[in-house]
């Protein structure tokens, strides 16, 4: 079990590193998908990962949650430290770790059960038995995911029957129900229409207050709107990372500039 760091880092909360990725390599069989990637992800900030398709950003984000454990052909090396503990080290239970690092996927993936149960599911399987506490968590999470007003009168209906944008917010509520510390989002709005996208983006801006958010996006405009910091991926490597406005206005690397200005990608 990972212990939350309780050292004096809180004093410099704005720049505290929540997740430190060092020299991460991920292989799928012989395909070297992420190459020697290092990135500091800061607490209570939104970090956007941008880059052309197939550049390894989704692979990178999935490594922060050890989701590659499920893929037999995937191999991971390097360090991913959550509050200074390497999540790949022995003695770390990936199941316990994943409760602290939630994930929202590209396509909304509500479970085939009621709206209420979708959100109550996480707390239940993690040992919460008190019905009123669960009800409180469900309402809280749905409110925080900006979905409560739309679904409060039909909590027993199937989560699959919601619209795509509502499904995605339901999935976010499901993640919030576990009160994670880090929320990973893998192109959370790419399957949604523009109006649903705006809602998700507004939500991300609010999530920043309580959570550390990492978002993969193929849309630079979206990265510009929602993120505090941006990392630019190309061919599996991180070319450049820094404050979003700096990356967008004064990129240090030529390749970043070419991508930002739309010369490729």
């Amino acid at each position: 079990m990972i212990q939350r760091a309780i050292d004096g880092r809180v004093t410099s909360a704005a720049t505290a590193v929540k997740v430190r990725v060092s020299h991460l390599d991920v292989y799928y069989g012989s395909n070297h998908a992420v190459r020697d990637a290092s990135l500091d992800i800061e607490e209570n900030q939104v970090t956007a990962l941008i880059g052309p398709s197939g550049c390894g950003k989704s692979t990178f984000i999935r490594a922060i949650n050890r989701l590659h454990d499920l893929t037999p052909s995937a191999r991971v090396s390097g360090k991913v430290e959550l509050d200074d503990v390497d999540i790949y080290s022995r003695g770390v239970d990936p199941i316990v770790m994943r409760r602290r690092v939630g994930m929202v996927f590209q396509r909304p993936n509500p479970f085939p059960m009621s709206i209420y149960d979708n959100v109550a599911y996480g707390p239940r399987v993690n040992g919460e038995r008190d019905a009123s506490r669960i009800a409180g968590l469900v309402e809280d999470s749905l409110r925080h995911a900006a979905l409560w007003d739309e679904v409060k009168d039909r909590l027993s209906e199937s989560g699959v029957a919601l619209s795509g944008g509502q499904q995605q917010r339901l999935c976010i509520a499901r993640v919030l129900s576990l009160r994670p510390e880090v929320i990973l989002m893998d192109e959370p709005a790419s399957a949604l229409d523009p109006i649903a996208t705006v809602k998700i983006e507004e939500l991300i801006a609010e999530l920043r207050e309580r959570y550390t958010v990492v978002i993969v996006t193929h849309s630079m405009a979206q990265a510009g709107r929602v993120s505090d910091r941006t990392a630019f991926f190309l061919n599996g490597s991180i070319v450049e990372a820094g404050p979003t406005n700096q990356i967008f206005t004064r990129p240090k690397d030529r390749r970043t500039e070419d991508y930002i200005t739309g010369r490729f990608g």
Binding site: L70, R98, N109, V125, R174, L178
Partner: protein, 284 residues
């Protein structure tokens, strides 16, 4: 698109001929089915009355009586077969869909396919050899075992397809919530696959309910109330067989009545299978 050209005309003719031919064959197939169903209904309808479904068979020569013990026997045998086939079938399907790869999985899949082609009488013979001979008497249980073997390949295939059809994203979603992998599979993937699995089960039940051959040397049949599957049991399909080849008009009538009951049961199962899938076409 030159009107009146010979090529266009011949194409139009062959197009029309194709529609007519396929339409004719479809009508023939549907018509045949309707004739069979209609004939069974006409013949069987007069046999069906409260006594037919609530009474035991009367002795030879005594008119009246019913097939209540056969109905109950069939229900018990099919229920036991379901209890045996569902866990093995669904778990095998789960293995093939999620964990199985390489040679072992291919072997299981191949064997299941072969099994689905084995004649039911051969399976009945097998059940006879391992569950009747050693105990020296026929039993409903041995019939249930034969039925379970018949249902198994269907259950395996539909379960595998149903579970495979559940998006990986759903499994990963459960994993990302801090669930052990088997937890996600049990609580999330299986429920998502359930409608399709239930459909497969109902069709498998419909498939075996009318099976007669394996019953001949397993359940054997009985003229009495028999609810203990350790003993020889009556079954509707076998009663139809016995009555139909008897020389008595009253029994012939009852054979048609039994056939009508079986067809109704299969019809209900098929409707149930469709009902289990309701609304699914709207999704995805």
């Amino acid at each position: 698109m030159i009107a009146g050209s010979r090529l266009a005309a011949s194409r139009r003719v062959s197009g029309i001929a194709g529609v007519v031919l396929t339409g004719f064959c479809s009508a023939l197939a549907a018509g045949l089915l309707i004739v069979i169903l209609g004939y069974v209904v006409v013949q069987g309808w007069s046999a069906i009355n409260p006594a037919f479904v609530t009474q035991l068979p009367h002795p030879v020569g005594v008119s009246g009586g019913g097939v209540a013990n056969g109905i109950v026997g069939t229900l018990i045998i099919v229920a036991l077969a379901t209890l045996m086939a569902v866990p093995v079938g669904v778990l095998t399907g789960l293995y093939l869909a999620i964990y199985g790869r390489g040679l072992p999985a291919e072997c299981v899949r191949f064997l299941a396919e072969v099994l689905s082609g084995v004649p039911s009488i051969a399976i009945g013979l097998f059940a006879y050899t391992i569950l009747v001979q050693p105990f020296r008497h026929f039993s409903g249980l041995s019939a249930a075992f034969a039925f379970a073997v018949l249902m198994l390949p269907l259950m395996i295939r539909t379960s595998e397809e149903a579970i495979r059809g559940v998006p990986t994203a759903i499994r990963e979603g459960a994993l990302a919530l801090g669930l052990p992998d088997y937890g996600g599979v049990i609580h999330v993937v299986l429920p998502a696959a359930r409608p399709l699995i239930v459909t497969g089960l109902l069709l498998a039940i419909a498939r075996v309910t009318g099976e007669t051959a394996p019953l001949l040397f397993t359940a054997f049949g009985s003229q009495f109330w028999e609810v203990n599957p350790g003993n020889p049991m009556a079954a509707l399909a076998m009663q139809i067989f016995t009555y139909a080849i008897s020389p008595y008009d009253d029994w012939h009538r009852q054979a048609w009545g039994g056939a009508l009951l079986l067809i109704l049961a299969v019809l209900v199962l098929n409707i149930g299978a469709r009902w289990a899938l309701r609304g699914r076409t709207k999704r995805s």
